[in-house]
Symmetry: C2
Subunit: 394 residues, 2 copies
Amino acid sequence: MIAERMKPLMANNSAVRQMFEEGNNLRAKYGKENVFDFSLGNPDAPVPDEINQAIKDIVDETPVMELHGYMSNAGYEDVRETIACHLNKLHGTEFTKGNILMTVGAASALNVALKTILNPGEEVVVFAPYFLEYNWYIKNYDGVVVPCQTDENFMPDMGRLEACITEKTRAVLINSPHNPTGVVYSEEIIKGIAEVLDRKQKELGRTLFLIADEPYRELAYDGVEVPYVTKYYDNTFVVYSYSKSLSLPGERIGYLVVPPAMEDSEFVFETVTAVNRISGAVNAPAIQQKLIGRCVDSKVNLEYYDRNRKALYEGLTGCGFECVMPQGAFYLFVKSPVEDAAEFCQAAKKYNILMVNGASFMAPGYVRLAYCVSYETINNSMAGFKKLAEEYGL
Amino acid sequence: MIAERMKPLMANNSAVRQMFEEGNNLRAKYGKENVFDFSLGNPDAPVPDEINQAIKDIVDETPVMELHGYMSNAGYEDVRETIACHLNKLHGTEFTKGNILMTVGAASALNVALKTILNPGEEVVVFAPYFLEYNWYIKNYDGVVVPCQTDENFMPDMGRLEACITEKTRAVLINSPHNPTGVVYSEEIIKGIAEVLDRKQKELGRTLFLIADEPYRELAYDGVEVPYVTKYYDNTFVVYSYSKSLSLPGERIGYLVVPPAMEDSEFVFETVTAVNRISGAVNAPAIQQKLIGRCVDSKVNLEYYDRNRKALYEGLTGCGFECVMPQGAFYLFVKSPVEDAAEFCQAAKKYNILMVNGASFMAPGYVRLAYCVSYETINNSMAGFKKLAEEYGL
């Protein structure tokens, strides 16, 4: 009944569903408060207070046919201009509304960028570990994923990056702050990637794109700087979402930046706009666009996640587990005390602790813990982690 | 800079933009009220009063993390159940939430269905004239469009349909009420299509899908019945949108029906849900879903369009123009008085009348007039149409 190329999707889908059902079974058996589910990357910091008031104000103050009607496929011009000015103020960029395409979240922005640039068989280099949905997004346009292994701190290695770039390379996809490791790429790293791409672009005589997927940009701790990538490499697309910065993942609102310095920037912008139309989205949802126009400076309380980050990191390393201290996003990527991380995940279930096997991010030997959970969940899970550590002789 | 296969999209795009800019130039020169723009299919009947109140109530009454958070990729279960019950009440179907996938409008629903079923090179039969965006949607998944000419009343001809179905056919796509002709397919027509598909399905030993794209379902006049297609053919997808029924085109909310009688219905539903996830949408926007859950019985005032329909039909046929009286949607498809409809469109611009060449719908020799405009626009355009008719000796 379904297309041949959708069959691998469905094989994978049943594994994800199985994990989800296991969680539900545990909750039914032991009660929700006694299950420590670190498996879901579901933003749970409170939505900023001003958001819901803004929605009501928009409904009251906008002429109704303007509010719900069609707009340019790129989105409302005033909202795009507001976002451009916001980015310019923060990052010293020189964007206008002609550089901002409103999209149905980051996933849609990323799909639009990939559909715009990929010819069948062209390669996209992705630093591993990585968010495996990228595999589907790239395959959607007959692209080929080329994983590039990072170093022991999950940082890109320029020698390895260079070796991954071939005559078939079309783009390098980065994600910082990073899912699943929580690392943030420094300016030095971004400069290094830009240098390799600039050089290879000339050497190969073909355009190489850098795609910066930044849904976690606002979730950066300890005052760490998240460099704005268009300033380092001209042919950069920036993919952004408000799902995490405003805790609005269900509302599907984000944008794609086509910077003015990109080659043929205006034509590329026209193309991403047309691609947004034909790929099914047509345009980003209207109310959500207007909401961003009013709340462009809003952010969830970072302290909510930061407290969790510290508690979980300290708790786990205190038990003897090994992990890199994350500087961003809401994940901890922990080394499995045994080679087979699936065994470790299984053992944790005895204590009602749910984690995701790093193999799901192309990183066997690790597990991912999402700390977008209540602080109590973290504290209450510690007894289990201690027993788990003892079990493995840590 | 862009992928090879996006180049035809951009060539077409500049033609559309040119038409849009011509309209803007005329408005700038002669004033908005003196330009009679029948070129845009932009719903303009007033949004029902209860819609905006419902949005505010949803914001006030829904726990905030539930309102804006992630839900199943298929959409909120209660909303899907509400829609299923609504359809069952209207059409005597037996749907549950397991048959309703919430989508980012009809365009997204159609893309999800096509991605789910199409193998590269497989054919989709579409009755001409048709909405040319279907070409892009089908090409998105490497499908091949097979246009099937309708009769002089724009009705499918079963002999021609049968001749179009080959060993490569995967689906037949219908659209009733119809863009651009306004015709509605009778029960007899739907039964005829179902009979051909049933027989061909057995003969060829392969699954043939019927896809019913129904964004105009609620816009049907003179009490004409719009048959519910799943009752006539099991392997039917229904594509629906609230863009027209509630005048909410910017909000991007619709759904896809996978009926229980479809072969492997549950597995197909799981697949469309996963496809909705990976194609970029992830899920339909949350507030809009909740809105439909509360306003499932709402509808725009049909009288708004009906008055326009009658005025435009009577006005034009009174001048001597020929067209089929439309029973649905908000379009009139008029025979060009000269073979070259482009010449006719050009001549109309002298009177500040904007229409779309039927060639844009695979129907040379016709023009489309969208009557989703104010009643005044129709009345005020008549002097120009009369002169145009005289010019062509009607």
